[in-house]
Subunit: 136 residues, 2 copies
DNA sequence: ATTATAGTTTATAATAATTCTAAACTATAA
DNA sequence: TTATAGTTTAGAATTATTATAAACTATAAT
């Protein structure tokens, strides 16, 4: 039952030693069948639920940040007050539901940009992902 | 030199009485030749600079919020830590420079979306504006 | 014009997400 | 096995924003 090597590898390549806490965080993030869109608050609740091992909020923040820097998570800027993260690191778009505050993936080729402006001189496009705000 | 009626009207239709402080805020926002992209911190600096009349930060926050609700300002979600606002209330797109943290307008017809996904059942698209992140 | 009242301004406190700190612990290399 | 560099954690600090409440003011009624 110790199939943690993938998580350990992600931690190592993120510059982190594989500790019990970090492996648990990695499991909660990456051992999923579907994309996980989350805030740190939500991840903290998932990890520190009833009876489970406890991981401090500081460690969750630090590990999420390291995974983001290493490219294993993507940050989605959606909300004024909270950071959202995404386990889907491919370039893709999102619906953001203003009512439920939930993100949903839109496949990259579901959006076609037939005209894109040229960036100002000396600047390069780093990222072009569309967030479509929806509501009832 | 008292051509403040436009500001007074904006305040009134935002549900605010035209006070000295609010008129000064409105002047700083709307008496401009070009679009103004700003954070509350920046607006506060502009208004409360050397020797000028003082307006409290709370009043600036409240007035910006009222103008936003009334549709005279638009909020741009760009940054994790600070809210950005825009005096250009037409539907349009932006470059966001990750280095300087400045927004630049992109005219609406400089971006062509030839394919847009259908929103989930029961949901409507509220907004589709593109933010293109740029850097050196 | 005077006054009563509802609305406003302001300093300051509270809140909430995030980051920092430093002491107790632990993975790992020697 | 041990030394050391790295880690975890509770709690403190930070920072943008929002709330509070007392002193002020625009406005409508007299
Ligand atoms: Mn905030
Ligand atoms: Mn923050
Ligand atoms: Zn996604
Ligand atoms: Zn703009």
């Amino acid at each position: 039952m110790n199939n943690n090597q993938a998580f350990i590898d992600k931690l190592r390549t993120s510059g982190l030693r594989p500790t019990k806490q970090r492996i648990l965080i990695a499991k909660n993030l990456f051992e999923r069948s579907k994309t996980f869109h989350f805030t740190v608050e939500k991840l903290n609740k998932v990890i520190n639920k009833k009876g489970s091992a406890k991981v401090s909020l500081a460690t969750i923040y630090n590990t999420v940040e390291a995974f983001t820097k290493a490219g294993y998570l993507k940050e989605i800027l959606t909300s004024k007050s909270k950071s959202y993260y995404d386990t889907n690191i491919k370039s893709h778009h999102h619906f953001y539901d203003e009512g439920t505050k939930e993100l949903t993936d839109i496949d990259y080729n579901q959006v076609k940009l037939s005209k894109v402006p040229v960036p100002p001189k000396g600047k390069k496009i780093k990222n072009l992902e569309v967030i479509i705000r929806i509501q009832k």
